[in-house]
Symmetry: C2
């Protein structure tokens, strides 16, 4: 039995929760309130959720590494070498070019007061978030999913913060292919929403 | 024959160059000066290097996805499922918690004039870079390499910007285990320096 440490409002934590549900993998959920507590840092020295506790007492952090671990050898992971590389391409794109803008804009809007100095970052974050959505739109205008034409962990990784991008003030109206893809993800068997 | 598009001063571009050298994979190098040119954006819509051109005309961006692709099935990739997940854990750590601080501090120091307003970011970037080095130090104080006790693509990914962190004003003196590990990487067969 796995244990997943996370926060309910986090798209990164939603990723392994959705994958586990769709793969029928039993996973106990433990809500973490302080990722910098000595108790949690002993489990993950990088102080971040999600964190997967394996049955043997070991730990695995990083949302997309957890996705990879849970999905390896299943229908949610590409079967070929090039497909696996393309899945990782989109998962690294998500963590480097998408999440730091789309998720951070959402976090600032939801969790800082209206007069927070952090709100000065929003125009730049939204501009970079729109660039990421533009890259996704260009791909999804030609392909139904991110890798090999089928739903995979690359879609789960990118769905997590794309579906709630408007929470951070990044409108999805200019991205029709992205919106159509979001509906295809929501229509997958055993789909569960973030909250 | 692969073609690798890159910039000579980029640690991200150095990663696949080092891996290809160590794996004996022939790779033509093409220097890119403008990653936002229409010609380059047609190859990688995300406008970033490195970019691997496969023999069949396809393209693979994202340094760590290229590392994975080149190394799969070789001694540079962990053989077990948990080892693969831990390699990805460190590679996602590198792109999310390390590179955006260690590499960006270096880039600002090397490529902006002394009065650039971007230099105001340096204290925060260095602080976050030191946090990442602290996480690495804690691991390397117990283990010689990042995964399964042996040299792998996870080490290549983290070596790329750690070995030149001092260029960005992040001193390595407080991290003896990191410095010992850098020497172990430099001592690997077929090692080549960044420049």
């Amino acid at each position: 039995m796995y244990t997943l440490y996370g926060m309910p409002d986090s798209g990164n934590c939603y990723k392994p929760r959705l994958a586990a549900e769709q793969l029928g993998i039993a996973c106990r959920w433990v809500e973490v309130r302080d990722t910098r507590s000595p108790e949690f840092l002993a489990k993950n020295p990088n102080g971040k959720v999600p964190l997967l506790e394996l049955g043997d007492g070991g730990f695995l952090p990083e949302s997309n590494a957890i996705l990879w671990y849970l999905a390896e050898g299943t229908a949610l992971a590409p079967a070929g070498r090039l497909g696996r590389a393309h899945a990782l391409q989109w998962m690294f794109f998500e963590q480097y070019s998408h999440e730091p803008y789309v998720a951070v804009a959402r976090s600032i809007v939801r969790h800082t007061p209206p007069d927070s100095p952090r709100r000065a970052e929003l125009p730049r974050l939204r501009e970079r978030g729109r660039q990421a959505l533009g890259v996704m739109e260009r791909h999804l205008a030609r392909e139904p999913y991110f890798v090999d034409g089928v739903y995979s962990i690359a879609d789960i990784a990118l769905f997590a913060y794309t579906h709630c991008a408007e929470d951070g003030g990044i409108e999805l109206a200019p991205y029709p292919a992205v919106r159509a893809w979001l509906e295809c993800v929501r229509a997958q068997p055993r789909f569960v929403p973030m909250q």
